[in-house]
Symmetry: C2
Subunit: 450 residues, 2 copies
Amino acid sequence: MLTRCLGARRLRQIRRAFRHGAVTFLCLFLTVIVLRGTIGAGKFGTPQQDFDNLRHHLNSHRRVLEEQHSEKTTTTSNNYATFDISTILVDEPPSKDEITRDPKAPYTLGPRITNWDQQRKRWLQQNPNFPNFIAPNKPRVLLVTGSSPKPCENPVGDHYLLKSIKNKIDYCRLHGIEIFYNMALFDAEMAGFWAKLPLIRKLLLSHPEVEFLWWMDSDAMFTDMAFEVPWERYKDHNFVMHGWNEMVYDEKNWIGLNTGSFLLRNCQWSLDILDSWAPMGPKGKVRDEAGKLLTRELKNRPVFEADDQSAMVYLLATERDKWGDKVYLENGYYLHGYWGILVDRYEEMIENYHPGLGDHRWPLVTHFVGCKPCGKFGDYPVERCLRQMDRAYNFGDNQILQMYGFTHKSLASKRVKRVRNESSNPLDVKDELGLLHPAFKAIRLPVSSS
Amino acid sequence: MLTRCLGARRLRQIRRAFRHGAVTFLCLFLTVIVLRGTIGAGKFGTPQQDFDNLRHHLNSHRRVLEEQHSEKTTTTSNNYATFDISTILVDEPPSKDEITRDPKAPYTLGPRITNWDQQRKRWLQQNPNFPNFIAPNKPRVLLVTGSSPKPCENPVGDHYLLKSIKNKIDYCRLHGIEIFYNMALFDAEMAGFWAKLPLIRKLLLSHPEVEFLWWMDSDAMFTDMAFEVPWERYKDHNFVMHGWNEMVYDEKNWIGLNTGSFLLRNCQWSLDILDSWAPMGPKGKVRDEAGKLLTRELKNRPVFEADDQSAMVYLLATERDKWGDKVYLENGYYLHGYWGILVDRYEEMIENYHPGLGDHRWPLVTHFVGCKPCGKFGDYPVERCLRQMDRAYNFGDNQILQMYGFTHKSLASKRVKRVRNESSNPLDVKDELGLLHPAFKAIRLPVSSS
């Protein structure tokens, strides 16, 4: 069905291209030649991609309106669309020696595991040097993020991916969190925004020493370097997402929670919810049909293939009894914060507040939902996105630079200026936020509590 | 003197451009238009840059020959040239409120410090939660790297910077090393390959808990994920670089050591050698005149402005008595490895050896000296560089992927394939290199030995 549409769509695209006139066409043609030379071939999309991008682009208008009218945060959780397997298949056919599953068998993330808690507990007892808690109420956390193995379709996108991981390196260094940056596609069927599921399962099972896995989209940045996650608050929960109970359980609103930044405990319960989350993911007919169901069942959801966020809202709304008591929908601070309602208020925040609050006064995370700086089509004008991503990066980076006596000349400026003179007694100088040697980073005696 | 040359040089460039013929020129022109649209203005170099790049390009030919004929590793240590202040000044004039030094005073990295060892020792005693050794013979290490705050002149360069930091994140996660990724220019005068000096001094003085700072260029990648630096070997040394005593002290050969990847102990001696290293750095007349001296005094050095590597060779060769006994020129493994003599041998290494050796059999670091993937002019054809950087990245990444049962389909391929089936007892599966939970990463009781 997908493939049958292609011919017609392509024709319409080509006609549109010609309407742009001969000169424009010549420019574009020459540019493509040169760009291909500079960046390498296979970057300009397959028919599949063009179709996906076109469809996404058509869908996006309704979504933008919804987001802009929403008082609450929102996401398409779609920055992983560049992770589309079609962009990877284009230059290499699948090879014989790959271990692949039987196409007739129903999709699973892997062999069923029912005793993970016991397996993990035993391992932790046998490996006291790898405790799952590095201090009381300080779990060992692995932050997981990633991006496509190929250069961005929009070349400047890679520069923003670089700034985004630099930003995460800074927060994680300060808070004693390890980072796994993924650039591989572990499961072709789960391409796109579903790629995180097999990756997360794989990492939970490979790292029993990790108590919490923190998934964060590549288009989300830390904007409060001082805020420590209130781990103690989640001691009886396994899955923490930014969201609201009423929006998820009562309204079944597809933006009632966000899956662009969440915490998942390493336990059997998490493996189970991943298994229940995954079935709408397999690319093609399954994902497309599931998309229709989700659009029908969820409030305000546009027409597009099944996405991981809608699937989670649907799962929780329909099986609240099974999962609800271990899911914590957090809105006391911005575990995820929608950029549209935050980036223009940074100066106001600097005026009135200080880092460490994590909420609307100083958001922990600013998430560039729908910007897709790496992709061809976002929901917003790319210039606006890039300008605002620079502001968010600099807003967070100022909290790093202040430790060393510098600051950006403005939130719009890449340049830095000195705000403190050098001292010959550098250890007597205290950085205003006390982030150089924060208490939450100090090494304490490991306490294993599995 | 620098500025007076510009007119003539520019003219020659423009004439050369025209010789390429009208069609090529049209292509380039249209491309520039489109690229400016895509990437934004201010990216195509100032006269200063064009001049620097042109001069570097002209110089490069001799250097390439030297490198290709060298049996030993070599570098221009020049990947920081994109850090040229001119690229930053171009869009913003310096502002009034900046704290700047008196231009008549001689350049220093900062106020003189003579009692750092005592200051640091006192701090370590007062902060037992931040020990400088995290285990016996396991110093606390901060890996420092970075790149320009602006997108690369060659757009695909940012994608390789992203892969390069992903690669460093992997090695550092496995070996319990923290990362500081710098994107700011702390000292305009020390732009280019000298930018690391003020940055390193600043970090040593801000982080007394750090015992060793590991500088690594952004164009260097870890290719042996299992190799642990033999820290015990350096217990009586403060400065570890890849190099050879005879080439530095006898030959005064400008490639007798490499400053693209080195270890520096956090102590007074290191502050002192940074002070002695810096004077040739200030941009303009000082750096240009120093360049002439270095080319005159050092073996095989091409004609170009003073670089940090030549300056270090000169310093050690002329003041061996003062510094020599605390400098360890390492050639027992590749703390830095010249890509030209390594990347074509990866298959042979896979055939005959295994990770963990760190030397010619399985190099710890592969350094893409002279490639400048982020800049406009490198010493080598950019396609060759990018192809080889992909091979180096995949060679290192295979050691990460094997932990999770995957591998790249080939050293040339971004795609991965499964090499192990999923197990329902994941903890019984041992990864072949034992990197999932390596002994050198285990937390032990902190021992402070300052």
